[in-house]
Amino acid sequence: MSSQEVSRQDTDERQEPLSGTPRRPAQAGPPAVPALAIEPPAAVPATAAVPPAQAGPPATALLPAAAGPATAARPAPAAGPPPLSAAARPGVAAQAGQAAAAAFAAFTGRPMARYQAAVVRIGFALVVLVQLLREWPGSRELYGDRSPWSLDMARRLAQQTHAFSVLEWQDGCWWFEACYALTVLAAVLMLLGWRTRFSSVAFLVGVLSVQNRGVLVGDGGDNLVHLMAIYLAFTRCAEVWSLDARRRDRGAAPGVGGVLLWGVAAGLLGWAQLTGRISWASAGGWSGPGWAALFWTLWAVAGLWWVVNRRWPAGEGRAVLDALGSMVHHCALFMVGAQVVLVYATAGLYKVQGPRWQDGTALYYPLHLDYFTPWPGLSALLGSSALLVFAFSYGTVLLQVAFPFTLVNRRLKNVLLAVMVLEHLGIAVLLGLPVFSLAMIAADAVFLPTGLLLWLDRRAGEWRPGRRPRPA
C-alpha cells in the first residue's frame, strides 16, 4: 500500500545519511532497493560500481578515493550527510527523470500490496456475508417487499438521489429473494476469490442494491462496506489467498468457466440495457457516464484480455493490458487507504471540537444510551470510573487524530493499528456493533505490515500438506 511505500521510503531516507551509502535515486522503486541501501558499508564498493554513473552526486566521487578496502569505505558515513545536500546541484534533471521513470515502472509494474488487497477483500466479503446471513430471516422486512420503507417509497427517493439498486427494478417477492440470495453467493465467491474479476463486480452490484434499497436502516459500517465494494472491484485483490491464485499457480488450463461467466454477464447486461434499467449516460446530477458505460467497459476489457492472452500471450499487447490493470489497482487501493485516513481524520478532528470530548466525559454518554448498551451492567461498570472514561475518551480522539500522521513511520503505524483493532473489538461487544467494528477492522487491514501477512502465509502453507511449497 501507499503508506507502506511512504513509510519504507521514510526509513530509507533516514538510513541513507547514516550508512552513507550512495543509493540509486530510484526513490519510488520499492523493496529491493531499500534492502541495498541498508546493506553495511562493506557492500558499498560493489553497489557503487554499478550505479555511480546515474547516481551522480559527489558522494560517489568520494568513493573512488576511498576505493579499495571495505574498511576504507567506513569514513564515508561521516561525509555522508553533506553530499546529500550538495547533490542538489549537478544532476537534478537526470535524477528527477530517473525517479519519474522508476515511479512509472512501479506504477505500471506488478500489483503492489497484493496481500493487503487480499485481506481487505476477504475482510469485506466476510462482513457482507455475516451481515446478510444474520439479517436473512427478517430480510423481507428490512430490504424486501414487507419493509415499511416500501418499494414505491424507495423509488420515489431514488428519483431524487439516483442511487443504484437492482432491487428497485422489479416488484415481487421472488425478485427480492433471488437478488438477496445472489448477493450472498457473490459474497461467498468474493471471499474465496473465485473468478474475482466477475465476482467482485457482482459483489459491488449486490452490495449497492441491498444497501440502496434500505438506505435508512444502515449505519457507518454499511457506509464503509458500500465504498469498499466499489473500490475493491477495481483492485486486483485475488492475486494471493484465492482460488484464482491457486488455479494460476497450478498452471491449470483456463477452462470454460470464465468464458461462460462472460457470456452470462453479456446476457444480463443486454437484458438490463434493452429494458432500460441501465443507461450510458448518468441520470443524476453527475453528468458523466452511467452504469451501463462502466459495466460494458469492464465486460469488454475482460473479453479483450482473454483474446489477447490467448493469441499473443507473450506479446506487448498483453503486457500493456496487465500494466493498465496494475495502474487501476494501484489507484483503487490508494483510495482504500485514503478512505480509511479520511474516516479517522474526520472522526477525530470533529471530536476535538466537542465539549464532551474536551472535558473527557464523552464516552460516558454512549455507555448510557439504551440503543448502544446490550450489556448494561458492563457499560455501567466501565462508566463508573472517572479515570477510565477520561482515558478512553482522550485516547480515542488522540488515536483518530494521530493515525493519519503515523503512516509516515511504519513502526508507530503498526502499534496504532493494533490498538485500533483492539478498540474496535471492544466497541463490537460494548456498543453491540459487531458488523460496524468488523468493517472498520477490515478497512484497517489495508495498512497491515507485509511481513505479518507473509508470516501468516507461510504458517498457512505449513498446515496444508497439499499446498505448493512456498519459498521460505
Binding site: 520499492p30 446530477g285 500493456v320 465539549p355 493494533a418 511481513g451
Partner: protein, 240 residues
C-alpha cells in the same frame, strides 16, 4: 502482532515474488535482471495517457471526498453542485461518528392507535427495540437502526411545529414512521380496525457523570413532542 511483522518485513518483502524473472517485481521494474520493460512508442503513449487519466481521476475523487468531509468552506461552497454530483449517491461520506459530541439523549418513540373502539394506550416502540438488543451479541439492523433512524429522518425533515421542510423527503418520512408503527401495531386496536395513529417522542437527557458538574446547555428535564394524528387507510398497510 504488529511487532511480529516488524522484524522480517524489509528482507522478506521481495521473497514471495518467484514467478516473474529475477528482479522484476522485487526491485520494482528497475531490478538488475529483467530491468524495466522497454515499451514500444505506441504502448508508451497508451500507458502514459492512461496513467495521466487515472491519476487525475483519483486526485479529483480524493479532492472531492476531502472537501465533502471538511467543514463547509469557500471551496466546497463554490463547487457545491459538482461535488454533490460526484459524491452522491454512491460515495456518500458520514464519519462524524459520535462527533463533535456523542448523542446525549435517549429518545423514546411511542404510538397510540385510534379505532371505532376509541383511543388505545401508548405503546413504547423504542422499548421493543431495546428489549431485543439487551443481551444480544449481534442485534439486527431492524432493532438498532430502523425506528431510530426513521425518527432522525422525521426530525431533520420537519420543523418545531411539525411542518415539512424537505418536500418529498418530509412526506416520505411521515409515511415511513407511520408504516413502522402500523407494522408493529397490527391491523386492529381494541378489536376494531385502526383508523388513525398518533406518535410522540420523549427525549430524556443522560445525566452527566456524577464526578462532573457539567452544565447541560438545554433544559435538563425530559422533553416531549407530540405529533398530530395521522389517518390510516388500507393503503398504508400495503405489503406490511
Amino acid at each position: 502482532m504488529a511487532e511480529r511483522g516488524e522484524v522480517p518485513e524489509p528482507e522478506s518483502e521481495p521473497e514471495p515474488e518467484p514467478e516473474p524473472g529475477p528482479g522484476r517485481g522485487a526491485g520494482g521494474e528497475s531490478g538488475p535482471g529483467a530491468g524495466p520493460r522497454v515499451w514500444s512508442l505506441p504502448a508508451l503513449v497508451v500507458l502514459s495517457a492512461a496513467a495521466m487519466a487515472l491519476l487525475s481521476a483519483t486526485a479529483v475523487l480524493l479532492g472531492a471526498l476531502l472537501l465533502t468531509n471538511a467543514p463547509p468552506n469557500s471551496l466546497s461552497q463554490r463547487y457545491q453542485s459538482q461535488l454533490n454530483g460526484l459524491v452522491y449517491p454512491e460515495f456518500e461520506q458520514n464519519w462524524r461518528l459520535f462527533a463533535p459530541d456523542p448523542l446525549q439523549d435517549n429518545i423514546n418513540v411511542r404510538v397510540r392507535a385510534r379505532s371505532a373502539a376509541g383511543d388505545g394506550g401508548w405503546v413504547d416502540l423504542t422499548a421493543q427495540d431495546i428489549a431485543a438488543i439487551r443481551g444480544n451479541p449481534f442485534p439486527s439492523h431492524a432493532e438498532q437502526n430502523e425506528l431510530r433512524r426513521a425518527w432522525d429522518f422525521y426530525d431533520t425533515t420537519h420543523d418545531d411545529r411539525e411542518m415539512p421542510t424537505a418536500g418529498v423527503r418530509s412526506s416520505l418520512a411521515d409515511e415511513y414512521l407511520k408504516r413502522i408503527a402500523l407494522q408493529r401495531l397490527g391491523r386492529t386496536s381494541g378489536g376494531a380496525p385502526i383508523t388513525g395513529v398518533e406518535l410522540r417522542a420523549d427525549t430524556v437527557p443522560v445525566a452527566p457523570p456524577p464526578w462532573t458538574a457539567a452544565p447541560r446547555p438545554a433544559a435538563a428535564g425530559p422533553q416531549s413532542r407530540e405529533l398530530p394524528w395521522w389517518s390510516v387507510s388500507d393503503q398504508d398497510y400495503a405489503g406490511l
